[in-house]
């Protein structure tokens, strides 16, 4: 007989021991309470960019509202194409429109693009190097709905695809700059989209996004965290906590996972003496961590220590995001705790 993953909770029918966290909404914000956020930065940036670039069209597979594309659709209704809940068609039609000279932004969830539409992205778009931008919400562990919606291996799936540029932005400030940069780049791009109320952090660091460039957000002498996506936010928060313990942490943000900014990563690691920790919102298999590890080994640049913070090679639990981020080691506290252990 198949067994349930969990036993029936023992406390049922007994007096409550206080409030429990509930499963986060499908589209839960990643922002901590009181954190500054921007609503739908992708949708607003795309709607604005489309005013200058008439070739931009938007397509979604019944998820425009959940990928912030509805903002674009409202601003440019005649340039929005609803393709229905049909991801293979979404990608094929985007490819066809690109062949006719348009620049399609196609949106869905990362799981559906990576798992269901892979063949179509590979052959209809990447093989011809077509100018299609694929923006996908719920990358990595950003929903509590379980493996059907958690794209824990999307980067591993896409890294092997020639011609495809992969971008994993950290916050709203970055997404606003990523959108025009994606359009300026000739060729297919996969964007790990943060949607809804997206945290705003990097403006305080005077950061600017450049496609293909890794940038030092914070310098430090003891630990070098190399991170992408929302893990750069976690790395910066963890660095502050660790500073209280007199641990000096640098954070190198690598929003472009492919092509990798090898020169900058090697230069930072070669400064020497620092524990290198690669942090990503993705399984430890096949993502940024292994990309950096391979780079370091190939170039003979060996740091005193190398560690990965990422999701385990498992199908992850359902539940509340804060619980899950802590359980799987990508919360700020978990990052700080593990780095202390490694020092």
């Amino acid at each position: 007989m198949r067994r349930s993953k969990y036993e029936r909770p023992a406390h049922l029918g007994q007096a409550s021991d206080g409030p429990r966290l509930k499963t986060s909404a499908m589209i839960a914000s990643l922002a901590a309470e009181g954190q500054r956020t921007v609503a739908a930065p992708f949708g607003h940036a795309l709607a604005k960019l489309a005013e200058e670039r008439p070739e931009i069209v938007g397509l979604s597979a019944d998820l425009s509202k959940y990928t912030d594309l509805h903002i674009f659709a409202k601003a440019h209704p005649d340039r929005f194409y609803q393709m229905g809940m049909a991801e293979q068609l979404l990608i094929s039609a985007a490819a066809g429109m690109a062949r006719e000279g348009f620049m399609p932004f196609a949106t869905t969830y990362a799981v559906f693009a990576a798992r269901r539409a892979y063949d179509f992205i590979c052959l209809a778009i990447a093989e011809e190097n077509l100018n299609v931008k694929i923006a996908c919400a719920l990358p990595g562990l950003t929903t509590g709905y379980g493996p059907s919606h958690q794209a824990t291996e999307d980067v591993a799936i896409f890294r092997g695809m020639p011609n495809l540029t992969i971008i994993d932005p950290c916050d709203a400030h970055e997404i606003e700059q990523v959108v025009p940069a994606m359009a300026a780049h000739q060729g297919p791009v996969y964007l790990r989209l943060l949607r809804g109320n997206v945290p705003l952090i990097l403006d305080e660091y005077g950061y600017t996004f450049e496609l293909g460039k890794a940038k030092t957000i914070r310098d430090g002498n003891d630990v070098l965290i190399i991170s992408s996506g929302l893990m750069t936010m976690r790395a910066l928060e963890a660095a502050q906590k660790l500073a209280d313990d007199r641990v000096d942490v640098a954070v190198l943000h690598v929003p472009t996972i492919k092509p990798l900014d090898e020169a900058t990563i090697l230069r930072e690691v070669a400064k020497g003496g620092r524990l290198v920790v690669v942090a990503e919102n993705h399984t430890v298999i096949g993502g940024l961590g292994e990309a950096v590890a391979g780079l370091l080994l190939r170039s003979g640049t060996i740091p005193p220590g190398f560690r990965q913070i990422g999701l385990p090679d498992e199908f992850l639990d359902a539940g509340a995001l804060p619980t899950l981020h802590d359980r799987y080691g990508i919360s700020t506290d978990a990052v700080a705790r593990r780095i202390r252990e490694w020092l």
Partner: protein, 291 residues
């Protein structure tokens, strides 16, 4: 540049469609001979449909295959490349002497059709079930540009097995893509055997009708019938995508290949290519006067 008034290619020449079809078959057989293999049975079967497409229905400029005003011909079935190359050669888009390179290293004519290799090859086929979805995108794009061009998508009965084909069929019907003409080659044979035994797609016409398409089903080796169907597909005034379901005979035009045990990948012995070319010519000459 102002486009010239579009002339239907068949007005440019007094060569009959029957001769075009014969010559397409001959080019295909010659490529098969070069490589000693190829999906020749499919090429012989679809040659009449290609003759009607390239020498009756479609508008294009042989010396400018990317001309904006052209009708787009999307070959979904990558392994039918040998057939399309034969048509492109006959249409003057690919020079005839290039057929000597078919399937060779550094050739513009690889065994499976790819957009990056061949002038006039609009898409990369081969991973079956891609064509119709791409065609939806081409058709939507052309409509955005207020183009009068048609999108033709040739796909196979085997591709009816792919769910993506039906996603695209539903979308084309939903968008009312009246600039899209689908052509299904029902030759009845897939890799593992007879098509309807692999996965029964019949009754086919009612399926497309239910998806809001204008549907015709014809004998794909009857030139007159195919011409009529293509004319009707282009002139139909409803706001619907159009489909011409073409029942074809694999190996058509070379009786000893037609009669060979039906197989997805037809084996032809080394000494049979010349014989096939001879038989094809004899067959064509014997019917020429009666056309």
């Amino acid at each position: 540049m102002q486009p010239e008034p579009a002339a239907s290619p068949h007005d440019r020449s007094n060569v009959s469609l029957a001769e075009r079809a014969y010559r397409i078959r001959r080019h295909a057989l010659r490529m098969g001979e070069v490589q000693g293999q190829g999906y020749i049975a499919q090429a012989l079967g679809i040659a009449d449909v290609l003759a009607v497409s390239y020498f009756h229905a479609m508008t294009y400029r042989p010396n400018d295959p990317e001309w904006e005003g052209r009708d787009r011909f999307l070959l979904s079935i990558g392994h039918y490349a040998i057939a399309l190359y034969a048509a492109l050669i006959e249409a003057g888009i690919v020079p005839e002497d290039e057929l000597e390179t078919y399937g060779g290293d550094d050739s513009r004519l690889p065994m499976s059709g790819m957009a990056a290799y061949t002038p006039g090859m609009e898409i990369t086929g081969g991973s079956l079930g891609h064509g119709l979805g791409l065609a939806v995108g081409f058709a939507l794009g052309l409509k955005r540009k207020n183009s009068k061009a048609f999108v033709y998508n040739l796909f196979s009965d085997g591709e009816l097995d792919e769910g993506s084909t039906w996603e695209a069929a539903m979308s084309a019907g939903s968008y009312g893509l009246d600039n899209l003409i689908g052509i299904v080659d029902v030759n009845g044979m897939q890799a593992d055997g007879p098509s309807t035994g692999v996965l029964n797609f019949e009754p086919l016409a009612p399926k497309f009708e239910a998806f809001n398409w204008f549907v015709q089903r014809v004998d794909g080796n009857d030139l007159d019938a195919v011409v009529k169907a293509f004319d009707a597909a282009r002139s139909y005034e409803g706001r619907k995508p159009r489909i011409v379901i073409c029942d074809t005979r694999m190996g058509k035009g070379v009786p000893f290949l037609e009669e060979r045990e039906r197989n997805h990948f037809l084996r032809v012995e080394a000494d049979e290519w010349t014989k096939a070319l001879d038989v094809l010519e004899q067959g064509y000459r014997s019917t020429e006067g009666r056309a």
